[in-house]
């Protein structure tokens, strides 16, 4: 039954090289069957590659490397009995390696505990994030064990939903969860983190440089109230809006190009290197933020000759240029400007100036002379052309290298998401130009054109007369050749779910539209 279901939901296909069935009842039998499966896989790859002596007992690390390089597609079907033996301590690594070398693994007639054990096994030995999806009470163990648990709310009640991190109503939404929402979430989180470290380093390191010129007495460069309000009022809302609304590509493109998911799996957007780049940018900004006003204020006076190089004017100048520079930076980082983003960014700048002038006003000073010592400063300092020239210079010098680096990166080595964004933009332009001329053709025609035009693999499949609509799983497996563990885990779970629930109705939904 399991094998039939496997074929009908296209986890097993006819052009797989071999489907191994493990149904041994004792430990020895299971071990033998696993070994035979491994040998067959290695034989096939050896005949393609260089020769090895056949009966060597390979150590596990060599085993992994050999098994990863096998040619052909294999599948493994194992039932509950055999799984119990295969999960014993001495055999579990072998089982895992054999299973991971296969394209699809179906475990049928497994108990809930075994489901959890399989997930546990993968978590322990494989470097990756595991996801478990299920809809019944028997899946709760597995959902809780995996890193990410997804529950389907529906036929079998809400047990799975209560135990899960995410839940939705149909299996097909898993694709959206991962490719659209998961990806966006990762992107937003990384941008948010990078920016947060940057703005705080730019803010704080100025005190480090000022220390050299104030006798290391820990005198703050800024006004007390600025320090309090900087992180809360002046800079928090724009980055919050970016963290909530940012999208690099629209959702339809995310679904179309699953390869966009790769940076998340490879941890490309926020790792040690990116972190150090953020920090370096923050330090660079702080150097300029201090030393340019320092150079200007060393001998500066106001345009009526009176003093300009006093501590309070210096504080106002540095604070204003800091707020403007980090606001421009968040503007550069935000790739998706909704109305809310606009409101938050311009509103934060406006709020800064409003609060600045309020706190430096006469009224507040008269009420609390010892609290609001900066009376008269904003009006006097920000009326000087020298101060605004300094602020403009600082902004340009801080932002220009960032723009240059990003432009070069986009131009010379664009990521897939950049290319997709760019083509999206081009297509938008063409659409608006040809709007009146174009007739809407068949709804599905554009999509299938994209899906097929660049992969020769599909030609055979169409010619063989099989189902015209491919499941997205097969599509994504062609698109991203190096086997990704989430797909296998997904298939494993789907397979176990398919056999566990035993309902064929679910399969109709599995042929997802491209």
């Amino acid at each position: 039954t399991a094998v039939n279901i496997g074929y009908s939901c296209k986890m097993l296909t006819d052009d797989m090289t071999e489907v191994f069935v493990v149904t041994g009842h004792t430990v020895l039998e299971v071990r033998e069957e696993l070994r035979k499966a491994r040998e067959k896989m290695m034989d096939a790859s050896r005949s393609v590659g260089n020769g090895f002596s056949s009966k060597e007992k390979l150590s596990s690390s060599k085993l992994t490397s050999v098994l990863e390089a096998i040619a052909g597609e294999y599948a493994l079907v194992i039932n509950g009995h055999s799984l119990a033996h295969a999960l014993e301590a001495d055999m579990e690594v072998e089982f895992l390696e054999t299973a991971c070398a296969c394209k699809a693994v179906i475990c049928c007639r497994v108990t809930p505990l075994q489901k959890a054990q399989v997930v546990e096994l993968v978590k322990k030995y494989k470097k990756g994030v595991t996801l478990a999806i299920g809809d019944g009470a028997n899946d709760v163990n597995m959902i809780k064990t995996a890193h990410i648990g997804v529950g389907i709310s529906g036929q079998e009640g809400i047990q799975a939903v209560l135990a899960s991190d995410y839940s939705f109503s149909q299996f097909k939404f898993l694709q959206r969860l991962l490719l659209v929402h998961g990806r966006w979430s990762y992107l937003r989180m990384c941008k948010f983190l990078c920016y947060f470290f940057y703005k705080n380093f730019a803010f704080t390191m100025v005190h480090f440089w000022f220390g050299f010129f104030c006798g290391f007495s820990a005198q703050t460069v800024y006004d007390q109230y600025f320090i309090t309000l900087y992180n809360i009022v002046y800079t928090s809302l724009p980055v919050l809006a970016m963290g909530v609304f940012d999208q690099d590509v629209p959702e339809q493109r995310s679904m179309e190009y699953p390869k966009l998911y790769e940076p998340g799996q490879l941890n490309l957007l926020f790792n040690k290197r990116e972190f150090f780049i953020c920090i370096a940018q923050g330090i660079y900004t702080s150097v300029l933020m201090f030393f340019i006003p320092y150079g200007v204020f060393a001998d500066a006076t106001r345009d009526d000759g009176a003093q300009l190089a006093d501590y309070q004017s210096f504080a106002v100048t540095v604070a204003t240029s800091l707020v403007i520079v980090v606001s421009v930076q968040i503007g550069l980082d935000t790739g998706f400007w909704t109305a809310i983003n606009h409101f938050f960014i311009w509103g934060s700048l406006a709020a800064y100036f409003a609060i600045l002038f309020t706190m430096h006003s006469d009224g507040l000073f008269r009420m609390f002379p010892n609290q609001f010592r900066f009376v008269g400063n904003a009006q006097n300092t920000l009326a000087q052309p020298t101060v605004w020239l300094t602020i403009a210079l600082t902004t340009v010098v801080c932002i220009m290298p960032v723009v240059a680096f990003r432009f070069l990166k986009l131009d010379l080595k664009p990521e897939l998401s950049d290319t997709v964004r760019y083509t999206q933009l081009v297509r938008k332009k063409q659409k608006t130009q040809h709007r009146c001329v174009r007739r809407t053709g068949r709804v599905g025609s554009r999509r299938s054109g994209y899906a097929f035009s660049h992969q020769e693999g599909f030609g055979e499949l169409i010619m063989s007369g099989k189902n015209m609509r491919l499941s997205s799983l097969a599509l994504s497996s062609f698109a991203s050749r190096p086997s990704t563990s989430w797909i296998e885990t997904l298939w494993k779970k789907k397979g176990s779910e398919g056999s566990g629930a035993g309902s064929p109705s679910g399969t109709a939904d599995k042929t997802l539209k491209v």
Partner: protein, 377 residues
Amino acid sequence: MAVNYSAKEEADGHPSGGVGVPGGGAVGSGGGGGAVKTRKPDNTAFKQQRLPAWQPILTAGTVLPAFFIIGLIFIPIGIGIFVTSNNIREYEIDYTGTEPSSPCNKCLNVSWDSTPPCTCTINFTLEHAFESNVFMYYGLSNFYQNHRRYVKSRDDSQLNGDNSSLLNPSKECEPYRTNEDKPIAPCGAIANSMFNDTLELYRIDNDTRTPITLIKKGIAWWTDKNVKFRNPTGDGNNLTALFQGTTKPVNWPKPVYMLDSEPDNNGFINEDFIVWMRTAALPTFRKLYRLIERKNNLQPTLQAGNYSLDIAYNYPVHSFDGRKRMILSTISWMGGKNPFLGIAYITVGSICFFLGVVLLIIHHKYGNRNTSADIPN
């Protein structure tokens, strides 16, 4: 560059009908199959993340012109500032007296309260005439007015004329808060270290010394003199009576109500005092001392020639390796002589322009032509 993008327009290509799209907000409670209470999330643009938005992309068409424009704007500004700065006349005399040949060497180790005060005279020559108003500054070096303990050592409500603070200064002023059980007015280390050298300028014209009128009003900020610093209020204008019960700061020769004979420059609103209380940001600073106004449009304010500076050397700086100087300067729309800003603008402008050229070359030779054929799928 970027076009207004509306997510709604994309939906017309989407093949799925009823169930798929609204339930697409997959995170959260799933859409129930039950007919009575549906838990489907709202199909609004906000909740389904379909808000219309502007999606800017850094293309060559925007970045390269931006670099060139910035370069072309900054370089003339820089040249303008630099030329303006070069036209400002400035003359500086260091009169600390550390060299034995200096006339003020005898005053180098004078104590702050010596009477009569040590005086010295320095003669100098101005090569060029100083047109328009001339400003006389005193400058100090290695004097950390920005030290944290120093900066907080003041009582702004006392300086604002609050009578209760006058007799009970704030704790921040310690150890310059009371002297012999009487409150100090004005309290704090900043007031205590007020600069009290006297500088006088004479023109030497064939052995006749003509004093040059130095104006002592108008040197402080208007908001400081009229809002921040107020004398204590009471009956009568007799400041001596109003400051009854307080004592002078430890290192002052005279109490605060004897700083000047004119009543609107006496007490806390004395302009020299106000200028000193506005602490400097850096250890080397200059503060406005006096103004020399031009008499008429025909003559320059200070003609070229010989001058002599008479100094009453009251302020000892040698103990902390400080230096004192007197600066005469004219002023422009951007303040005093400041070549840094001009040079910085010219440098940054040229770097921007050069960077624009470099990026243009790189883009031309190696830039990717982004096409949809590049997308691997």
